[in-house]
């Protein structure tokens, strides 16, 4: 295997280069901290304000994540394992909130309840905006579970609740850990959502500092603390995930689980699903419709909306393609030539996606303005930022589809005289094309809704739907902001459908 890899120095080199670029933001934080000097750095880090932000951020994580887990697992269980009426419809509705950017959720809520603020508001909106990230993997896992374990547990006399707690829940551990990590990282990274309801987190404070002093030491030190929080979450998840095996051992295929009858619980279950859908989809839908109705045709300045739409599409497609392209070598290596080096490279690719946009942007602003001035405020830098932020998404989609392409085809092509890279292109890459398309779509979805990095890095004259929406809501012109919110939702909708279908496919459904 290793001889095979060494015959592909080019692929490894590309993966190495991408990994090194991925390390730039982290390296930047370290270098700046060292440059700032211990005295200044500690004065900026060990102060009341940072403690305040830490408490806010910790409380947000500690309250939001457990609520999200309970909600997502309940909904997933109801839609996947019970005879819930119209279960497929509820399953779709549980994913749909993803089509609404988090800061649009916030906008909808603040329009409806203008007094909403602080931790309570933050938890409410975060749960509604992010629970699908947990629902998707948990539902997929539930669909895949072999019912025989539950049956064995039941035959040993455990009550249904105990069967769930002792036989089902442990098998959901991976899905719950992964989903919680995703939610947790989003809570750290999110900016717009919390600004609107006046809840200060590290992300909002860094942007405040940025707007008061550009890339001053205070902003960079806050970024350093935020990076530590992210790494802490990653470590915590790795520890909780544990090393147990969850694969089914034995021959044959698992049966499809029998759906449990809800009986008299049917009505409460339906009410719960209805309530969640009303809060997570209904509220944005109603407020958006209301603002659009109030604004009428006057809020549709075709040239401005069209311009922002065009720029957003351009960035989303360009960024999506670029990110997928640079992720291919790594994805291929991790499936076909696993090794210690590959695992290190892969970690470099993956960790950067857990950094908030504000940190990556701050790093790129400072580096380009100080060292690579020609790249400063260009599309190149913005696209690099997008690639760094969304690399893990592309990697996940690509890896799964490359893994499904049989390596024998590559070998056969090589035996027939194709050079290895040609062989890979003619066999695996062709088979993995749907995965690449999904990767591009996932990244494009992220770019469409990205706010902070775009605000800080975009070239002069560039306005995306997200930045335009943001500047209008900052002037509390909620009516004029509505068309941009609508366009973002419309753009995200098909991509969300892709996501849902993909999770279904991964589980073989």
């Amino acid at each position: 295997m290793s001889a095979f890899r060494l015959r592909h120095p080019l692929v490894t080199t590309i993966a190495l280069v991408v990994a090194l670029v991925s390390l730039v933001p982290l390296g930047f934080v370290v270098v700046v901290t060292l440059q700032t000097g211990w005295e200044t750095a500690s004065a900026l880090v060990f102060r009341g304000r940072v403690a305040e932000l830490l408490v806010n951020t910790a409380l947000l994580e500690l309250v939001t994540v457990p609520i999200t887990i309970v909600l997502a697992v309940t909904l997933a269980w109801l839609t996947e394992r019970t005879d819930l009426f119209a279960a497929r419809v509820w399953a779709w509705l549980a994913v749909a909130p993803l089509a609404v950017p988090a800061f649009v959720h916030s906008y909808a809520w603040i329009s409806l309840v203008p007094g909403l603020k602080g931790l309570g508001g933050g938890v409410l909106i975060s749960v509604l905006a992010y629970f699908p990230f947990l629902y998707l993997p948990v539902a997929a896992q539930l669909r895949r579970l072999d019912p025989s374990i539950e049956e064995a547990a039941a035959s040993l006399g455990l009550s249904p609740v105990r069967v769930f707690l002792r036989a089902v829940l442990p098998q959901l551990r991976l899905a719950i850990c992964g989903g919680s990590l995703l939610v947790g990282l989003h809570l750290l990274a999110e900016y717009g959502l919390y600004v609107m309801i006046r809840f200060d987190t590290f992300s909002t404070a860094i942007v405040d500092q940025f707007q008061s002093a550009f890339n001053g030491p205070a902003a960079n030190m806050l970024a350093g603390v935020l990076v530590l929080c992210c790494l802490g979450l990653l470590a915590l998840e790795a520890a909780l995930r544990g090393g147990e095996r969850y694969a089914r051992v034995g021959s044959g295929a698992p049966r499809v689980a029998v759906r449990r009858r809800l009986g008299r619980w049917m009505i409460p279950a339906l009410l719960l699903n209805l309530a969640v859908a009303a809060l997570s989809i209904g509220v944005p839908f109603v407020t958006l419709s209301r603002w659009l109705w109030l604004g009428g045709l006057a809020i549709w300045p075709a040239d401005e909306v069209g311009f922002a739409f065009g720029q957003t599409m351009l960035l989303a497609v360009g960024g999506g393609l670029l990110t997928t392209l640079v992720a291919i070598p790594m994805a291929w290596l991790s499936v076909r030539a696993p090794s210690r080096l590959q695992r290190v490279l892969e970690a470099c690719h993956s960790y950067v996606g857990s950094l908030p946009g504000v940190v990556v942007a701050l790093a790129l602003v400072t580096i380009t303005v100080r060292l690579f001035l020609p790249l400063y405020q260009t599309f190149v830098t913005l696209l690099v930022a997008y690639a760094l932020l969304f690399l893990p998404r592309a990697l996940v989609a690509l890896r799964a589809s490359i893994a499904q392409a049989p390596v024998e085809l590559e070998r056969a092509a090589m035996a027939l005289g194709r050079r290895p890279v040609v062989a890979v292109r003619q066999t695996t890459m062709r088979l993995a094309a749907p995965g690449a398309a999904a990767a591009t779509a996932l990244v494009a979805l992220g770019i469409t809704n990205e706010l902070t990095a775009t605000l800080m890095l975009s070239p002069n004259g560039v306005e995306t739907l997200a930045t335009k929406f943001w500047s209008l809501t900052s002037e509390i012109d909620y009516v004029a902001a509505a068309p941009y919110a609508l366009m973002m939702v419309l753009l995200s909708l098909p991509l969300t459908l892709v996501l849902h279908r993909q999770s279904g496919r991964a589980s073989g459904a």
């Binding site: 405040d208 599309f379 040609v422």
Partner: protein, 336 residues
Amino acid sequence: MSASLRRAGTVGLVVLAWAAAGPASAESAGIVVYNAQHESLGKEWAAAFTKETGIPVTLRKGSDMEFANQIVQEGAASPADVFLTENSPAMALVDAAGLFEPLAKETLDQVPDNFRPSNGHWVGVAARSTVFVYDKTKLAEDALPKSMLDLADPSWKGRWAASPAGADFQAIVSALLALKGDAATKDFLAAMKQNVTPYKGNSTAMKAVNAGEIEGALIYHYYYFGDQAKTGENSKNIALHYFKNEDPGAFVSISGAGVLASSPHKADAQAFVKWLTGKGGQAILRDGTSFEYAVGKDDASNKALVPLAELGYPKVDPQSLNSKAVTDMMTEAGLL
């Protein structure tokens, strides 16, 4: 190189070429303005100027201090031709770094002495007055603070709002610093940390006062007039309190414009600043919906406003406003 990599390389190059083409095409046409003014006012100005002169204007939206520090770091390579702010401290910062091109005499002559720095490196283009907006259903006139410094009193704890991260508020603090000195400013900020409810943006703070969430807010005057001219939905319960008597809270902040020494389009940039301070630019302040004060000699402001001459504002040399000290002090006080 293999075929697949060549193809990948081609796609990559196309993406990069297209990416590189973006800013280049923006640079070749007209001037780039770093606009920290309200987006709507900046756009109105730019559109009218382009219509009159045929010179295209590309606006970049940001905030005062972000841009000022950005320009200092960009130095000679700054893509900006003109810097347009809401307040003076940002202008003073760029000027202190020696990055402004002196303005043409005709431009300076259009604005009275007290609305521009004496060195003529930049010029005032509009002005805004500090006010205390308050919920008139909750606060009687005799319960209002006599001075902005009264808001530091413990009796005001939790009762007033501001937008400390905004350049507007930081300009007020820099005026306080210039008028009352280090110690008094630090004391005020420390007390403010205890008393204030922070909001993001002046409009948001005003909206909160109107909604009865808080009794008052220290902001600039025109948010109120702007809302009144629209639906009044966010200001119907509000009244304005002007501190007057040369109180720091009566500070009139000057929005500035300057041409960057690094600009490759100096003639067009000078023309833009001259136009802003001339009849065309000032008429937009008088007739438009920005409700900022006009500062041109003999140029009238919007009729809805209390005239500048009646505001009793303190005399502060706009050049003396120290933004760096202010952000450091505010960071130290835990407000940032």
